[in-house]
Symmetry: C2
Subunit: 510 residues, 2 copies
């Protein structure tokens, strides 16, 4: 079932955006309370949701400790998968991943299972109600959620050398960048900043940046900029108000969204969304805080604001706006949970349940704040309505094999690059010639320098011999020659030209 | 020539650490003024150096614009390489890398050429003389400088997928971690924090973390901790005083050192060192600022503090301490260049040359500050005295081939994982069985989910058939069978067990 066309439940009362009665279709969402403080904040949030959006129904599913204890190493069972597949939307409480024992993070598993490619983290300063050095900060980090070094493909290749693959794909870039621009458009945001390290990683991060420029052309009303991630992260740390929406690959986004949440000062209140084409998950950024569980003192705001994002995702903007305003008004009225309570500035120190009641009492009251967290009425993000991004095949490039990088595990002859290089010269022909040997990316043959540290892992670049067009069999023959000569080839990377352009980086010194 | 045993030049006057005359051996350092404001700040710094350490001599070499214009794409010529090789130490002014045209960064080239494996960046708050939100901040980032995704090994593998290799090596980890602890010990630092993302990258970042624990055991007097990089970077942004020395892989260190410099508030004054076993380079963090070049208004402090690090590196602690104290005293006396001048708080607004004169006048005067940037007398970092770290071969692991990951470029049959998987099942034997197919790290066969985005890049894991011990020839035969069947294998990663432990990650869902 498509979550974006939920089953109507018109047996429930409806309310409208202008105060008048409007028919909001009924919809069921999956709710996983989690563990620690999860159940009590979930309970509080559901009460607010029910009061603001009576057409909403909930199917509670099990996630976290209880599931782990039942032997589900991923922290959830088939009933959760089934509920998410049916309803398309999951509101999830915090979960403690047990240490060791092969337990997997619920979030990683759900993200991978349902293709939740976009992690969306609004980082807002709620000055003066929550201490921050940056009043007015209102940044949304849109982090790619599936690729990069987080695809988790690692190989130990020699006694000394370990490798992780960083994968960046064109369809992956297209859908995250498009999501960022659609989010910006739907929410009246004026600027999207792209952050990469494409001055170093010209192919992978270069692709992300290039796709950013391509997609940006379709949103002429939105300002764009690109920053190198190290500078961008530093600016986020000291001057976050210069940013609006930021889109970035997985690893950079992981770091950046934590920085943004910290400097906003409100990590305990921060919501997040994990968005896929068929389903989406909404949850607070904070953890399960087992030390205060069951004591009715936890702040339910992070999960509540996540639920507001969920309503917006479902196109239920009116109740979303009403909850957001009521929550803001509660803060303004000085009704604070212990985590943000400040003697003298707060008016009442309340528990989880009382905070939720205070929000419910204020549903429909306007916030006195000049601006709400989201200034313009949020709209549904258009990219969600489409199916999976079609594989981009604007022009299939012409691919030509021109050589192969063979990686050797070699720990002989005092690791002399010259000895290795000369032997390989003799094994390259007739199809190939040895272009170079590098160690950790630095050319060591021909013409290396004695200062270069040589590990036991050698990248040997063989390019096509003059006048020869290599085929796969030539690579196989080369591998056989190397094996016969006692060389231990542990990996290969074919070298291609795409539309005439080399699809591989040069070694330093090449 | 070994830079650490410099040629004595005892024709020069010497001065001693206790005010008495002491014979400091003469030594020559290579100096590259660079371009933009480089020449004028270099000139100012050399005057201070000469006044504090008369036994120091300089050999000026060309770097930057002038070299680029002379056709050196790396920004320097053989004379610089020769001077660095002879003297072992380079003091380098800022350089502008021209955009485009194949110009390479001087720093990257020097780092790779001379194996400058450690980037050391002290980030100090000079409250109240330089505005900062963190008075008392005094953090040193020790960044690995050669490995990680910055080794620059990238391959485009299909129409859609680009890859960068992240390489982490045991000797690389050992020498950077050891350098961090030696630095901490020599400089009276109490804590070293390691930051990685080893909860995700268990093999590569896991190695870095493991080596950190191993090396730390040799420094029982130094407190240690480990943080996940996203949390660590966020803490650096808001609470940098909790850190002392931080050691981290290349990419994280790049981001982290920019954050630390920004929050310290003194990026314009920040020094840095790039340290190798045979040579070292010292330079300011700031750029060449061509807009204010030649106007005698630039602040020479960044380069001056880099020169102080250079003196310390050479074991010339007495003049280093005297310059540091005089510089600090100049700041305290309100003698400020334009960049840090504040009306009412500063006493005199001076130019580059006058600032240098003010420092020289104060050589020998104590700073009134309770603590200097470096509280204890800095010592020479011991790891520098050793040659290259010996390849760690405590116990050569037993390596056993157990399979191969073959990566296919496949864009047929509507990219159906089931079609692909079934065909590969038929091609795996007799040596292998198909264990799984994954796309961007997510298992898609057997038992994939329709939500998973499938690019044209498929990782196909073949494990040894039961009772079979595979050999390289089995992999070659498999590649031939794949080729004969029309499959386009673009890369291979052999799967090994090391001492019985799998040297490869599982796919999500495996």
């Amino acid at each position: 079932m498509d979550s974006l066309q939920p089953a109507l439940r018109d047996d429930l009362p409806q309310s409208g955006p202008d105060g008048a009665t409007m028919v909001l279709p009924g919809v069921t969402v999956a709710v996983a309370p989690g563990d620690g403080i999860g159940p009590e904040i979930t309970d509080a949030v559901l009460q607010v949701l029910s009061a603001a959006d009576p057409a909403l129904a909930f199917e509670t599913v099990c996630v976290g400790l209880q599931a782990y204890q039942a032997g589900e190493s991923s922290g959830f069972g088939p009933s959760l998968l089934d509920a998410v597949a049916r309803h398309g939307v999951l509101l999830k409480g915090p979960v403690t991943t047990p240490q060791g024992g092969g337990y997997k993070s619920v979030n990683v598993s759900l993200r991978k299972t349902f293709g939740l490619f976009a992690n969306v983290r609004p980082c807002v300063a709620y000055h003066p109600h929550v201490a921050t050095a940056h009043p007015g900060m209102d940044v949304v980090i849109v982090r790619e959620n599936e690729e990069d070094t987080y695809a988790g493909i690692e190989h130990r290749q020699t006694a000394e050398v370990y490798q992780c693959l960083k994968l960046i794909t064109r369809p992956g870039c297209e859908r995250i960048v498009r999501h960022a621009f659609e989010y910006a458009r739907a929410n009246g945001r004026r600027k999207v900043t792209c952050m990469t390290k494409d001055n170093i990683m010209k192919l992978t991060d270069g692709l992300f940046h290039r796709v950013f420029r391509e997609v940006a052309a379709g949103y002429p009303e939105i300002e764009t900029e690109h920053m190198i991630i190290d500078i961008g992260a530093a600016r986020m740390a000291v001057a976050p108000r210069q940013f609006d929406v930021v889109v970035t690959p997985n690893l950079y986004g992981d770091i950046l969204s934590d920085i943004a949440a910290e400097v906003a000062g409100s990590i305990g209140l921060a919501p997040s969304a994990n968005i896929g084409h068929a389903s989406a998950m909404f949850e607070a950024v904070h953890g399960s805080a087992p030390d205060i569980a069951g004591r009715d003192i936890a702040n339910p705001s992070g999960l509540l604001l996540s639920a507001v994002m969920m309503l917006e995702h479902l196109g239920r903007n009116e109740p979303a706006q009403r909850i957001r305003a009521a929550w803001r008004r509660t803060l303004e009225d000085g009704i604070h949970t212990a985590d943000i309570h400040v003697e003298g500035r707060s008016r009442a120190r309340v528990g989880t349940r009382a905070f939720a009641r205070a929000v419910i009492e204020r549903l429909g009251e306007p916030s006195t704040a000049a601006t709400l967290a989201i200034a313009s009425p949020p709209g549904k993000v258009e990219s969600m309505r489409h199916g999976p991004t079609p594989a981009s095949a604007p022009s299939q490039p012409v691919k030509a094999l021109v050589g192969v990088d063979v990686f050797l595990h070699w720990d002989a002859c005092e690791r002399s690059p010259d000895v290795l290089g000369r032997r390989l010269e003799g094994l390259a022909g007739p199809s190939f010639r040895l272009a170079l040997v590098s160690n950790r990316g630095v050319k060591v043959y021909p013409g290396g320098r004695p200062e270069t540290l040589c590990t036991d892992h050698w990248r040997c670049r063989f390019l096509a011999a003059p006048e020869h067009t290599p085929a796969k069999r030539d690579i196989v023959d080369l591998l056989l020659r190397l094996d016969d000569a006692g060389f231990d080839a542990v990996k290969t990377e074919n070298l291609y030209r795409f539309d005439g352009e080399p699809g591989y980086s040069q070694a330093q010194g090449e």
